[in-house]
Symmetry: C2
Subunit: 487 residues, 2 copies
Amino acid sequence: MVLNYKAIMKLSGIIIIILGGAMIPSLLVSYYYDETDTANSFLLSIVPMLIIGGIIIRTVKVDFTHLKIRDGYAIVALCWTLVSALGAIPFVISGYIPNFIDAFFEAVSGFTTTGCSILTDIEALPKGLLFWRSFTHWIGGMGIIIFAIALLPALGISGQKIAGVETAGQTFGKLVPKLTQSSKILYLIYFVMTILEILLLALGGMGLYDAMINTFGSVGTGGYSNYNASIAHYDNVYFEIVIALFMILAGTNFTLYYFVIRKRWKEFISDSELRLYLLIILSATMLIAFNLWLSNSYDTMGESLRFSFFQTASVITTTGFASANFDLWPTFSKMILFVLMFIGGCSSSTSGGIKVMRILLLLKYIKRGISIRLHPRAVISIKINDKSVPSDTVSAVINFTFLYFAVFLIGTLLLSLDNFDLITTTSATAACLGNVGPGFNLVGPVMNYSIFSDLSTLLLSFLMLIGRLELFTIILLFTRQFWNPDK
Amino acid sequence: MVLNYKAIMKLSGIIIIILGGAMIPSLLVSYYYDETDTANSFLLSIVPMLIIGGIIIRTVKVDFTHLKIRDGYAIVALCWTLVSALGAIPFVISGYIPNFIDAFFEAVSGFTTTGCSILTDIEALPKGLLFWRSFTHWIGGMGIIIFAIALLPALGISGQKIAGVETAGQTFGKLVPKLTQSSKILYLIYFVMTILEILLLALGGMGLYDAMINTFGSVGTGGYSNYNASIAHYDNVYFEIVIALFMILAGTNFTLYYFVIRKRWKEFISDSELRLYLLIILSATMLIAFNLWLSNSYDTMGESLRFSFFQTASVITTTGFASANFDLWPTFSKMILFVLMFIGGCSSSTSGGIKVMRILLLLKYIKRGISIRLHPRAVISIKINDKSVPSDTVSAVINFTFLYFAVFLIGTLLLSLDNFDLITTTSATAACLGNVGPGFNLVGPVMNYSIFSDLSTLLLSFLMLIGRLELFTIILLFTRQFWNPDK
């Protein structure tokens, strides 16, 4: 057998139960706000899920230690798809998103922490449902953390600095115990971050419900808001600063926080990826601010800085919150934001995109290439954090980047069959693949993704999953080699 | 001394004389059409150039055998810039393009065989000047052929199959004698191609003057026309087919014609780059034709095929002729053309862009990357034409591609300061860097490049040169390492 189908079945059972359980907070929120219909929708989702999941777990007996890397890929891909399909159920049952494809898109967008919506009027939804919608970001963020640590080493970027997990060989099962330990630390960080942001927002006068929604959106770098105008709804500098800072924290390599906990400040501060990440944020903020100011988009340099900082933080971390309609900004500013969509945050963070670590490596690769032109016989190694990067890691990063652009191109071509303009088409593809959320023109920050055909909605859901799972996890499943292991 | 300045001076003298001589045909055309003012403009350019060039050659004594690769880069970059600056003189003197920056742009666009124009009404120019404008394409095409053979091996893609020229070491001077032999064959092919197309167009009823203009535009893959409507002016299927075929021939690796001459058909037909090139043309033609037909852009599938074939050939070879206003086509078709702008024709041809050979190698690289995910210990080599490609060639190609996109991004960002829309900005940058010519929206096939500021006009000229000279030739000149050889 190519795959360990029994193990996959058993894991599906576990996932179904976990997701059923994950809906309980939203059920409680519905009761709290006396939204009986919404509460019933959740009950109709939760109860069958717990029953079906329970039956599967009881009946399927399996030994997980024999899982291979191949099974790992299949499980991860299936897991995210299944979770999204199940997560869509309350949207459909409640009648607020009757089309299942749309509801699936909304759930994929949530779990992948993308944050683009097919809803034309978000504020028309009951609070319980909006809570679930944002809570998917938070769950997704947790999922990404374990994914980034379990699979990223096998995918060529070892963001792994904690438990000394080696680059994975063939056995996926053996990896799991080592991971559990480090995951615990990371989940703790994620929890602390969540509580802290909710508190800070509440202290600034934001209601607890809104504080939770915005926190889920920022620590998961998702970007779902409960208002049509997103963060611009509040028009509050304090909220913007808190949210921006937490987006940046969530876009930082989580394994770096381990250094913070151990008070190894020097290693934290000297991390090359972190430095480039902060440098990009600083440069983009300044460039956009000057552009906004000089083009009279805002009256003062202060206002320009306020909006440019928030939007830079939001887009590079691939969150997608908006504190202004940046689609009206001058072309230079929009172009910078478009580039940031591709860059994304740090590796092993909850953000999407190509990731700063890969960009850093590519910049060093280009620099080395130029040197080699002048000194053809020189042997120059690529170093990051004072360590030579092995050539197979370099290859993996290059491959990832080309594949990223290839998927972007194919996605754009397929999406263009809907015949919207080039900017809408390319930015929608880039925003979904990079898990950002809003794009430009018809999918700009005050618009939504309801314009696309059902097929395109599925395509965009697929792009969000591909982007979230670092391409290979999904793409491998479509290769002949994957299903012919002996070849 | 970092560079051999004496040799550079001497070569400049030679270039000035050659370019002065190259203007004589245009002078004769001016006399033929009784355009005395234009003729005088040419005389005022030619005479001083011959005198100054002559003086330089007589006074500077130099031994060329001591030239290094470093000097080679500098000479090539200087040569193209100087030729463009000198080629701009008749436009300025005649008063038809009074602004020197605009005239320089027009000349760069000519010599780099790009074909984008700042002229708002091409037909207002005298025939002698339009002849010169198109003749720069033809000269540029010759320049590229020698460049592709002299420098490309050193730049990592060895399109070299004729004279057995080895990948260049440090000595540029030693390369030259070997090159002379193979260049002769290639120039012969270029001449034969030119004569043949002029004849075929004339046989179809096109006037000799027009036939020459269109031939210069197609064999050099330039795209300057003497009509505002470009090839659409004739509305003649025969002309379109002849021009399209010659664009495709000019976009083919010229060293392959050596196989044709030697009747080594099997090697010609089995060439991987040629096959992919033709496959892309076929696929793009069919996809665009169906899209045009299904979207009712044209009444019949026949008409759709006619226009899609011509435009595909024109854009992939980076010629830029237009037989229709493709800017009005549906988004899917435009997106395909946009992608073709980046791909470009074959290596060692007169076309620009990334080149099919590099795309082929990257596709194989991506495929290998996917295999490695599943078989981490496998050693898989990349083969082209049944030969393993050395890893440093692979690196050079990867480097080139990343650099291409980096230059594209930086170019787009700088150009966006002019604050035209994103499509105009990105397509203008891509069309100049890829030496295509027209882009979309404000720089579409029936528009022109007169909208940009002087700074942006210079930037676009620079992008055309960078693209034409395969990036490194120009970029190296801006590195510290180039000017500090001992470091």
